[in-house]
Symmetry: C2
Subunit: 199 residues, 2 copies
């Protein structure tokens, strides 16, 4: 399937049929998501994968009672991982292990730590949220490329989600992506014309 | 090309060979980008497409003198379009014209205008920046799917870019994406392992 067709055919599925996405496809999607790019390769994300019906039912009232939450196969809860320093240490270690020259890793580490150190908490959160939306795009396109559907969702109560999912306070829910097989049909896709977007 | 391979093979190209992406491929990429999803379908973006060498040369000092700016084919300057109300009116008109039932358009319009009305300026900007990172993901994947390369770039001076490009104040530069043909090779792609990301 051409990437252009993936982008044109995916849509925010409002109703899933309850079938489960099999583990092989799920793991391929998770690999697509975790290979998303992020600024400085920081990967400031933790993603809770919810499949148990009981938990989905507990979450639904905290997401405007939307039926995607309970009819989907898996609900991905994209969280900002606010422990930037510990993620960076892992990234630096991983780069070195995978053969990036040590001098380059050191230079990168100095630069990135300086940048992170200068950020306010609000700036950190904004930065993490932006990067997470790159991963979200890969999630919705990845689902369609693997033959199933998805629904990105911003309308939910992050504090209630944290409570239901027992999230540690350094993981902050940012956006949801329900995945599964659609039981509805794609609406007309309307977008601003080319001349309204590009100049 | 499978979407998974696109995600695995794309990388932030640091040096392009100066060849131009032809108009047919460029326009396909622009169509991929403008069909990106956004919360409430708001599409809060305006994208300046820079191809003139003289302008790229004027921008380069304001992007840490990075050579991608002048060696790329086109530089896409993703701007937040802060005039949400006027975009929403266009989206509502477009939805109705393309056959979405009027009652549904009206209901959506009331909901979205209420939501937008409740946002502070900072909240609006954060929201627009997040949606733009979805379009950015489609840009880098779209480029690879069409046989060329890209480099997303956050390190630049937005005020200086606005001045060089004579941007109206309601268009705020958020992130860049240089596109073209790579003259370098992909570095090792390192990402956090699956168990560090998903839980």
């Amino acid at each position: 399937m051409e990437f252009k067709d993936i982008v044109m055919q995916r849509y925010a599925t409002k109703q899933f049929d309850g079938r489960m996405v099999d583990e092989d496809k799920l793991f391929t999607l998770l690999d697509i998501i975790r290979h998303s790019p992020s600024a400085f390769n920081i990967q400031p994300w933790k993603i809770k994968v919810v499949s148990a019906s009981r938990i989905k039912a507990s979450l639904r009232p905290h997401a405007n009672d939307q039926s995607q939450i309970t009819t989907c196969s898996h609900l991905l809860v994209f969280c900002a991982n606010m422990e930037f320093e510990s993620v960076i240490d892992k990234v630096l270690g991983g780069m070195e292990q995978s053969g990036v020259p040590k001098a380059m890793v050191t230079q990168y580490g100095t630069m990135i730590k300086g940048y992170i150190g200068s950020m306010t908490p609000d700036h950190r959160m904004g930065f993490a949220r932006e990067q997470i939306h790159i991963a979200l795009a890969n999630a919705v396109n990845g689902a369609k490329s693997l033959g199933f559907d998805s629904c990105p969702m911003g309308g939910f109560d992050p504090a209630a989600f944290s409570e239901v999912l027992f999230l540690p306070e350094e993981y902050v829910p940012v956006v949801l992506c329900a995945i599964g097989y659609a039981a509805d049909t794609a609406p007309v896709k309307w977008r601003l014309p080319r001349e309204e977007v590009f100049f």
